[in-house]
Every structure is written in C-alpha cells, then in structure tokens.
C-alpha cells in the first residue's frame, strides 16, 4: 500500500546528496523500496537503544527534561527510549533548528598584530537520525532547500541535510489550525523523508522512501518484521485507515487556492486588508520562531576575548521593527501593518513567484502560538474570498 502522492511537484533543485530523489508528482510518493515492514513498540525502544549505542545522534519528539514546567513535546536529542513522546502533541518547535541552528558560528577570527587568521567551521557533519518527524516539518526542509541552493549553495545547511536521515511519523492531525492539505501536503506526506512510520495496533507500519531510509533499516534489520501475509495485510489496512482519517480531518480545516491567493497578494500591496489586520499583531515574532519554513537570519560579529571572536548567524524575522532599518534611519517597513503584510507576502507571493511553491507547510503553529489571536488559516481564507469576489 502506498500513501496518496504529495500534491506538490518536487522542485527541480539538486536535492541532497546520498538520497535517491523523491518521486515526481503523480507517482506514489512513498516509493516502497522493500516490503512494508512492522516495528513493534518494543522494538522501537530497541531501535533507539541501538542507534544511541552506535554513537549516532538521534532526534525525536521528547518531553521537556525539567519536570513541572511546560511539559510540551519537542524535537530533542534523546539518549533513551524512555524520552520518546511519539503520541504527544505536535512538537512545539519545528525541525528547523537542527539544520539552521538558532545561533550558528560561521567562522572565528584571531588577530595577530595587523593580521587576521580565520578559523573555519566544518561543513560536514556527523550523521544524525530523526525518528518521528511530522510530515509538515520534514517537507519544510525541502522547501527551504530551494533558497539555500539559490545561486550560491549554503554548505552549512546542506552539510546537515546530507548527514541526516529522517523517518516521518504519519500525523493524526493536531487540531483545526492544521492546514497542510490546503498548501499541497498531507498528514502522511513523505516529501523529503527517507522513510515513514504509520501507527498501527502494536507498533508502526514502516516504509522506506529513499536509499538512506533503506540503509537505516538494513542496519537494524532484526528489529523489523515482515510477518505473515495475513498480519501484513491487516497492518496495511489499519495504516491506510489511519491515514485516510487524518487526511479527511485536515482537508476540512481550510480550502483555498494558493495560486489565486498569490495573485491577490501580489496585486493588493496597498489594500485596506493589511491595515485592518496589522494592528492586532504585536510584533512578537513567536510565529517566526516556531515556523518550519521561516529561515531569515541576521549576521553579527561577537568578540569573545581580546583580539578574537566569532561571526554568527542568528534567527531573525521580518516582524521586528529593526529588520529593515537602514543605517541612515530610514525604515521601509516602519509599522506593524507593513511587517505583517511582509510575512504573508513572503510566504504566499514572493516565494512562490521565485521558487514555484509557498513558503508554508500548514503546520498551524503560528496560529497556536500567537498571543494575540492572529490566525493564518483565517487570513488565507479571507484573502481567498477576496480573491474570488
């Protein structure tokens, strides 16, 4: 059995090294390299133990280590199966931070008299595995690949991409703020994933999508069972039902035409829509922090001692007042109306104009985290309606 194909065509970019390219639209996106296998809950625990024992870093949804605070699941480096939180809510932050760290050293400098020596940082990284990534988070990586490979190739991003094997966890849909379906994805999408785990009674249906995914399974062969055809058929059926239910659930959340939205946003730069929407936004940028596709960054030099320091790149966002502040004092986006417009603009007009797809995977985190109730699905629905009028 295979998942429905991802609705968005795979971009023409170079993709990542070592992965077989994801299948083109129309073909089953879950290109099953071998027979669908099963991973029991118990064996999932053993898989974690084996990976960790083998020295490979492992990322998975896990709960906050410090008790009594928050308690949300988030993607973390884990060292034991006890930390796994597959069944919890959507991880609070996206996978972005494992590829574009919140703060990353670009190089270090050391002064020697009038001279300067540069200490380079590695662009190759030790292998790491992500288990249980939500499809919206994984697909986001390939969307951002496009800008990271535009013209000059960002080897820090791709170094991490190349070193990472990602197994998705088919998503049951978090809540009504999800809208992956409306932007061309699905809760069981495998875009940019090396494999997929779908919850079934007793464990997970396991499918591979790429050679990297197959290699991971091969390395821990004994933990994956194919079982007899009866059991396999039952698993397939359960998985198909799980996925179909999820797809139906999210499809109901939002129905829009992103092409129509792109045209409207491009043509209505000065519309009153933005002045009605902008005031509620307090410019907190929580949305950009949790967003899997927001990738804008700042570059700063930080002295770390006399005569030496590091140049870093840090997450940044168009939502702050100083993002477009010129040294002259002129600021082309001097109020929150224009800044909020920019967010929608970049994601639904600029990026699709440039790279052929929206800079959004419909994960809904921005709507959940916004302290003032700005809701992206609602914004898109409004624009779609305006566009149809």
């Amino acid at each position: 059995m295979s998942a429905a194909p991802d609705k968005r065509p795979t971009p023409k970019g170079k993709g990542t090294k070592g992965a077989a390219p994801a299948a083109a639209a129309g073909a089953a996106a879950t290109a099953v390299a071998g027979a669908a296998l099963c991973l029991t809950e118990e064996n999932l625990g053993k898989l974690v133990a084996e990976i960790v024992a083998g020295g490979t870093r492992l990322v998975a949804p896990a709960r906050e280590p410090q008790a009594g605070v928050g308690g949300s699941a988030d993607y973390r480096y884990i060292s034991s199966a006890a930390e796994l939180a597959f069944g919890d809510s959507l991880p609070r932050m996206s996978l972005k931070g494992f590829f574009l760290p919140q703060s990353e050293v670009l190089f270090k400098w050391h002064r020697k008299g009038a001279d300067v020596e540069i200490e380079a940082v590695p662009t190759e990284f030790p292998p790491q595995i992500v288990l249980g990534a939500r499809p919206c988070d994984t697909a986001a990586l390939e969307i951002v690949d496009q800008v990271m490979d535009w013209g000059l190739r960002d080897e820090l991003w791709f170094g991490r991409r190349d070193a990472t094997t990602i197994f998705n966890l088919s998503c049951p849909v978090e809540d009504a703020s999800c809208f992956c379906h409306a932007v061309g994805l699905n809760p069981d999408a495998t875009r940019a994933a090396d494999g997929m785990l779908t919850p079934v009674p007793g464990g997970y249906l396991v499918e591979t999508c790429t050679e990297k995914g197959a290699a991971l399974i091969e390395g821990h062969k004994a933990l994956f069972e194919s079982g007899d055809t009866g059991a396999a058929a039952q698993r397939s059926k359960a998985a198909a039902q799980y996925r179909a239910d999820a797809r139906a659930k999210v499809a109901a959340d939002l129905q829009i035409d992103t092409t129509r939205i792109k045209e409207w946003v491009g043509d209505h730069f000065d519309d009153d829509f933005w002045t009605a929407l902008g005031p509620r936004c307090n410019g907190c940028a929580a949305c950009a922090s949790v967003c899997p596709t927001c990738h804008c960054f700042d570059i700063v030099d930080e002295p770390e001692g006399v005569g030496h320091g590091a140049r870093r790149r840090n997450w940044d966002t168009c939502q702050t007042g100083v993002f477009t502040l010129h040294a002259s004092g002129h600021n082309p986006r001097a109020d929150q109306n224009s800044r909020f417009r920019q967010r929608v603009n970049h994601k639904f007009f600029i990026y699709p104009s440039r790279f052929g797809e929206v800079l959004c995977t419909g994960c809904g985190r921005c709507s959940r985290v916004c302290p003032e109730g700005q809701d992206l699905a609602e914004v898109l629905a409004c624009i779609d309606e305006l566009a149809r009028a």
Binding site: Q66, R92, P279, C284, A285, S289, E302, N314, V369, P371
Partner: protein, 290 residues
C-alpha cells in the same frame, strides 16, 4: 455584553473615540478586537477568556494603532495597572485615551480554554488581585463578579526554587534560558516594555549580544528583569507569549516579592504613586551604601 457594546457604539458614533480596543471571538478563542465602526461594536465580548493585556496597544511605538484614532481601551484591573505605568512614565497623557473598565472575576490561563474558572484553570496573575474593579477609568461596565479561585501555585514554586542550592537553581535557569530563541515575544507582549530602541537592539556598542547562546540569553533576561523591577504588573503576558515555554512569571513574581520586601511597594493603578526605582525620595534606603 450589552453594556459594553452600547458604550462602544456610542463612543464611536459620537466621534469620541476613533477605535475601541476590546475583545472579540477569534478562531481559537477570545482575541483583541479593533472596532472602528459603530456597527462592529456587537463583536465585543468579555468573559474569563479575555486574558490579553490590551494596554500593550497603547505603546507609543505602535504607529499602526495610533493611525486608527483616539483609542477607547477596555481594561481589566491588571491592564489598568499597566496603563497607570504608561502614564506614570509619560508614555501617554490621560486625555489621549478613554479607559473602559470592566469588572473582572478572574481569567483563565489562555484565551483558548473554556471560560470556566477553577483552581486548575485560573491564571496565576489573579492570585491576590486587588483591582477587580479598576479605578483608573472613565467608564465601568459589567456585573460584579465573584472572587476568582485562589491558587498560590506560583508563590509555592518560587519558594521551592528559593529552597534549592545556588547550583541547583543555576541548573534550573540554564535549562530554561537555553530554550530562548531571542524572538523577544516577551518584550513585545509587555505593555511596560516601551523603549524607543530596546537596549538589545542597540549596536554601538552592542550592550547585549543578540545571539541566543546562554551568555546572550542570560544577559537579555537579567536586563529585562532589572528594567521591570517595580514596574511589572504581573499580567503574565510575557510568559503566555513565549513560544518556548520559559516560565517568566517565576522571575517577574520573584521581583515583585523582592520589591515588596525592600520598598514595601506593590504596583498600583494610581499613576500618581511613584514607582520605587523610577523616583527619587530624600528618605530612600541607603544602608547598602557603606
């Protein structure tokens, strides 16, 4: 709330206010509303989900709100304390804003929760509330409300932290502040963070590093805490806004307790009462100056 809606409608129709800032039903619960026409006044609601501190929209650094005209803001008591703070610090003049006070029986922790107040759901800010009927207002609407359920959970947690050894407490805070992404949602959500140019945005020199390493994060949070001491109204918006769940109310509430202890001061909604650190008095404590 008919009383609120009628008042809003009248203020707008008479031209006394250009915009009524209150709450409306959003897709995920209550959310701030900007009512600019009398017809839209019916959107206004008030219930225990109206958590947001609307005083934040009176921040002078929000030209997009100013552009809507003279604001009439619906304020709970805690929100009114924040407005008093803005008045006290000359960020606002009293005649430039209309304050619609609303009688409050407490709010729940997030605007998405059902409006049912219990010990488990009530927001930490409501503990010990002394402004259930805001005084600094031009109008007061709403029925008298019962006392909110009481929970001293926040103060208990602070006592637990205080009881830790310094090393253990350091462990706790490094764990929490390591999560910070320096998005500054805490700052943006806070009505009292109104600096024209925040210290962390200044580059000559870079007083506070903007990188989200532990060093930078500590510098940011400690500086913000210092800047808020004696001014923070305890609305908890910073903690609610934080996308990574840093328990900022532990810091801010601790500061309130320290300020109470050192200066016998609790933040008030009377703008005439000076804040301890913002005002100089001849009889200020100085036993720490040897």
């Amino acid at each position: 709330m008919k009383e609120l809606r009628d008042l809003a409608r009248k203020l707008l129709a008479d031209g006394d206010a250009g915009v009524v800032i209150g709450w409306e039903e959003g897709r995920r619960g209550a959310r701030p509303a900007f009512i600019t026409t009398p017809d839209d006044a019916d959107k206004l609601i008030f219930d225990a989900r109206c958590v947001h501190n609307l005083a934040n929209y009176l921040n002078p650094r929000k030209p997009q709100v100013k552009a809507l005209g003279k604001p009439a803001v619906v304020v709970k008591g805690c929100d009114a304390k924040a407005v008093a703070g803005l008045l006290r610090e000359a960020q606002l003049t009293r005649d430039r804003v209309i304050l619609i006070g609303v009688r409050c029986g407490g709010v729940v922790q997030t605007p998405e929760m059902p409006a049912e107040l219990t010990e488990a759901t009530v927001a930490t800010r409501c503990y010990g509330c002394d402004v259930r009927e805001p005084k600094l207002v031009d109008h007061l609407v709403g029925d008298a409300q019962p006392e909110p359920p009481v929970t001293a959970a926040l103060d208990r947690r602070i006592a637990e932290l205080d009881a830790l050894s310094p090393q253990e407490r350091w462990q706790f805070w490094t764990g929490q502040l390591a999560k910070c992404t320096r998005c500054h949602a805490c700052r943006q959500a806070c009505p009292l963070c109104h600096c024209e140019r925040c210290i962390t945005d200044k580059t000559q020199p870079q007083w506070i590093e903007s990188s989200s390493h532990l060093r930078g994060n500590f510098a940011w949070h400690l500086t913000r805490a210092q800047h808020l001491a004696g001014r923070c109204v305890g609305c908890g918006e910073c903690e609610r806004a934080c996308p990574v769940g840093i328990p900022l109310s532990l810091i801010n509430r601790k500061l309130q307790l320290v300020v109470k202890d050192l200066f016998d001061y609790t933040v008030t909604d009377d703008p005439e009462v000076p804040a301890p650190i913002g005002a100089y008095a001849v009889d200020d404590r100085q036993e720490f100056i040897e």
